[in-house]
Symmetry: C2
Subunit: 337 residues, 2 copies
Amino acid sequence: MTENPLGPTAVAQAHERIAPFINQTPLFRSTLLNHWLGHEFVFKVEGFQKVGAFKVRGALNALLSLQEKGDLPDSVVAFSSGNHAQAVAYAARQVGVPATILLPADSSGVKRQATTGYGAKVIVTASRAEAEARTAELQAQGAYLLHPYDNDWVLAGQGTACYEALKSGLRPDAIFATCGGGGWLSGTYLATQLLAPGTPVYGAEPLQANDAAQSYRTGGIIRFADSPDTIADGARTLCVSPRTFQYLKRLAGFYEIDEQEIIYWTQWLAHLIKTPVEPTSAVAMAGALAWAKRQSQPRQVLVMLSGGNIAPQAYLTIWAQDFLSVTPDRHAADDPI
Amino acid sequence: MTENPLGPTAVAQAHERIAPFINQTPLFRSTLLNHWLGHEFVFKVEGFQKVGAFKVRGALNALLSLQEKGDLPDSVVAFSSGNHAQAVAYAARQVGVPATILLPADSSGVKRQATTGYGAKVIVTASRAEAEARTAELQAQGAYLLHPYDNDWVLAGQGTACYEALKSGLRPDAIFATCGGGGWLSGTYLATQLLAPGTPVYGAEPLQANDAAQSYRTGGIIRFADSPDTIADGARTLCVSPRTFQYLKRLAGFYEIDEQEIIYWTQWLAHLIKTPVEPTSAVAMAGALAWAKRQSQPRQVLVMLSGGNIAPQAYLTIWAQDFLSVTPDRHAADDPI
């Protein structure tokens, strides 16, 4: 299936549409980090977004677009164990449409509560097959399936975060974002095409969940049979979609990050910029550093931090070892990337 | 020994003096939390302060005051295992005076690094006796001992955080701050006397480190023989000082918080306002909630969050149990305070 690519102006339109409902999130810098690494890292902090992650941008753009067209459905359905669930619940409430979220049985209690807290109905499903069956049932009853990344409105909405960063006048030498299903990265690419078209956009992915990097190398979509095992839960997708892959193919490159490196930056970013950074977001920082180390002069890098929701159980994995005992200057020098 | 009390204008003068060197930290609110609890909690977030804690305010006010008087010493010495060490290192660098910080052997590596990172010399001491001996030696060589709370300039400086909050126009029904040595709380009291003199200021303290609450009740300073055992490391002081006690005596009251409650709010505040909150700061939130639950109508409470530096080891204690599974509305209802 071929998809017609979105024009970059879709991102500007999305931003105008969703702006009244979202936070304009801040750009953070750490003087100490930049001193240590000899480059300027600028962080777009989506942890301060509604529901604590960028996902609300895409969900809002989709539902507000349907509303504009007079096509608002009777209800919305989404399947997610993560931030997309809360984002759809939040967005559906804004347009006054009931939402049903299918959550896997092993999803964290706090995310379940937040989703119901935003007024959505939650159905816990034991298997993917059950989730698909329930979704089909709800669609037959008139529900609109809001896919986390296989939806043009969602991609354009996710791009509004990078759009805000570039709109503020920032002109980085490179931009990094983590790849899950590819929506966040596709949106980032589109925003860059609109406002800073010469700037290279790179993807970063956990080495243990590198389907997109493999797809990028081979030119065709690689699909994992099972969810990959990584602390970066936002990157546990099986594969990207044709819709996102058409943008991912045009990126400047991919960096693959090992688990220890992800945890190292999860600890250090929380410590330095004083906001919880999801391991999924730390992947992008690790990629940005690997790129910066190959540069022969000081560079400015925009690192898109996707969110700040960390499950209680994940904290124990993240802090099992003390990585704060090795400062980033020594870490960057030792690291054999 | 009697101490002459500071006039509240000392806080305004301190703010004018230190303003160019510090961050005007934000006031945060959580819509969800306020919805759950039926009151409005407003957080002054000193985690976003230089060195990640309020301590830099007092240290800067002391050294800048000495500079104004033409009394800048040849060097500065301080003894601290916590945020005061980094604060003195940072402040000394601003006035161009070398600093020596005495750190106990069991202090965390990350704090040691940060202290040397700000340009201070660190001496690791095995015992309190050794620290005192080294301090006397350095003082004999002309060093100025910058005490974390037994110093009027420090108290006035710590008050500038609450001063900023009230200066913004906020007029809360009550103000809460945690008690360690009493400097933070004394400064908060002084700022309130200046800008909102009718507003009650309350102290909050870990139940396991309740020397100030006991002192408040009995009217005389109670001193622990050994450092009390609490996750709130900023409240592990042995006792308050006569200098701070003269203000603490005039507070509206003290709340004593058990360890589980401290950890509950450390988890929830990080989750809701998306910035790491030290257990020491969570103590103040727990006190504020205990107060709010006794109110017969909705109230606005200012909660002073002292800082956001959490040692790697402390994360494991904080997240050993999942408190995010019980939302604050149910927690507040169940809790037999």
